[in-house]
């Protein structure tokens, strides 16, 4: 069995590692974009304008309520078509724009992550102690300073457990891109299964690798939580 997993032409070890690299790339690129969308969604949901609030609510409800695989298909099939129609309208006979499966994966995963993150961040912002903001205003801090020095660090502390959970879910959701032909870990496993006809071995291996990634993430997140909660006395 171990020759199957070895490096080089005979074994699948290197293909699976290559798939793992793509999985990690996908997750790492999605994270900042997802967080950005999350902040935007949170601010929209907390805005004074009813219209913005409606948009925020609508976005988070829809993105949280749809199966991720459906969102992925819609983005993968729909955005490609849309981009192409735009490109043809802009410059008929010109160059083609390719919306790669990687871009589709990042977009779909970030949109979903952003919707859930928006709710976590909103909860965090709304749990802040208004007294601290007042104190900041009383000593003459500008709104910008208040935001970056008082609000944000505490939002970070409050939101970290929720965001950490979302990160782990996103790691697992990257497996879905295997269905749209992106050569991530799950897909390379599928290819290996197709050739070696040993589904149990390879799918178990894939599951174990994802499990290891998630456990590792949990360890790192626990550390970050301890760091973020430094100096806080539990009442």
């Amino acid at each position: 069995m171990f020759e199957l997993l070895s490096y080089g032409d005979a074994g699948w070890g290197d293909e699976i590692l290559a798939g793992l690299a793509i999985t990690m790339q996908l997750a790492i690129v999605t994270l900042p974009i997802g967080l950005l969308i999350g902040f935007v969604a949170a601010f929209a949901s907390m805005s004074r304008h009813a219209g913005l609030r409606a948009i925020g609510f609508g976005y988070t409800t829809i993105m949280r309520g749809l199966p991720e695989i459906l969102t992925l298909f819609v983005v993968y099939n729909g955005v490609g078509l849309l981009l192409n129609k735009l490109a043809v309208w802009w410059d008929p006979g010109g160059t083609n724009i390719e919306f790669s499966p990687f871009a589709a994966g990042v977009t779909a995963l970030a949109m979903v992550f952003g919707a859930f993150a928006g709710e976590v961040l909103r909860g965090a912002f709304q749990s802040l102690d208004e007294g601290q903001m007042e104190a900041g205003r009383a000593i003459g801090m500008s709104p910008r300073k208040i935001f970056f020095r008082i609000r944000l660090p505490q939002v970070w502390r409050f939101a970290l457990p929720g965001l950490g959970n979302l990160w782990i879910n996103m790691l697992k959701d990257t497996a879905l891109v295997s269905i749209i032909a992106l050569d991530d870990l799950m897909r390379m496993t599928k290819v290996a299964v197709g050739v070696t006809k040993q589904p149990f071995t390879f799918y178990l291996l894939a599951c174990l690798i994802y499990w290891a990634l998630c456990v590792l993430s949990e360890v790192v997140l626990a550390r970050m939580e301890r760091g973020a909660n430094r100096g806080i006395r539990r009442v």
């Binding site: 790339q25 900042p32 160059t95 032909a181 006809k197």
Partner: protein, 261 residues
């Protein structure tokens, strides 16, 4: 905190930029295929896409003076991919059918094909009618003419559709499905040349009904790419005439698949 934040933002912007710059604009001629359909198109252990379809495609590209990039795409999304400009033509053992002609244009057929039933050795299935197969489980790859055939011919059976041919074969070998309908040549290849395919055998008459089999297997292009189509047709005729087709053909098959003799 802020220094770390700045570093994190910088790194992530770089990562995003790096991933977006690759594959944003493409210029060379691109060949789309599935990569999961031996012996016509499959992915080798080292990751290269190979097979009869790919060789014919690359030979055609050479003759029209272009370097071809081979792109693999899942069967379900292969036509949408063409329409979304992910590649310029599809050479993936796609049958020419009226239904498909509504979406894409085809070149002249580059080989003829038929479909066949496949059953496990020692199976008790002898008749291939809707009544005889009423409670049987029949499988095929989704989005193919075989799938259309099963749904039309055996409405009372339990139909299963799979994303790839491999998965149909896997379930056939493990006994989950009682019968499958597949392309003649790949099924012949599977049942006679592979270890897991030895479980099963072809059965019944070959299915050559043009309503499902169409006019043969062709190369699909976007409907507006007339020029490319003419070039490919001309190159194909050249290949037939000067024997290159035969060389590639004989690597994979014992009969001439262009005429099925």
């Amino acid at each position: 905190m802020t220094a770390k934040l700045k570093l994190a933002t910088a790194l992530s912007t770089l990562a995003v930029a790096a991933s977006l710059s690759t594959g944003a604009f493409a210029e060379a001629l691109r060949l789309g295929t599935e990569g999961a359909y031996p012996p016509f198109n499959y992915i080798e252990a080292d990751g290269k896409i190979a097979g009869f379809d790919v060789e014919i495609g690359q030979e055609l590209c050479k003759r029209i003076g272009e370097e071809c990039e081979v792109v693999a795409q899942d069967w379900d999304g292969i036509i949408p991919g063409l329409l979304a400009n992910k590649y310029d033509f599809i050479i993936a053992s796609m049958f020419i059918t009226e239904e498909r002609k509504k979406q894409v244009a085809f070149t002249d057929p580059y080989y003829l094909a038929a479909m066949t039933n496949v059953v496990p050795k020692g199976s008790d299935i002898t008749e291939f009618t809707n009544e005889a197969l009423a409670d049987k489980v029949i499988g095929a790859q989704s989005g193919t003419t075989q799938a259309d055939y099963i749904e039309a011919t055996y409405p009372d059976a339990d139909v299963r559709l799979y994303p790839t041919q491999d998965e149909v074969n896997l379930d056939m070998a493990s006994g989950r499905i009682d019968m499958q309908v597949g392309d003649m040549l790949p099924m012949l290849d599977w049942t006679t040349k592979t270890e897991d395919g030895a479980c099963c055998e072809l059965a019944g008459e070959p299915i050559t009904d043009p309503a499902f089999v169409g006019e043969g297997v062709g190369i699909a292009l976007r409907q507006e790419d007339d020029e490319l189509r003419e070039k490919l047709n001309a190159a194909l005729a050249e290949m037939r005439a000067d024997g290159t087709y035969k060389t590639i053909n004989d690597k994979y098959f014992n009969i001439d698949v262009y005429t099925m003799k």
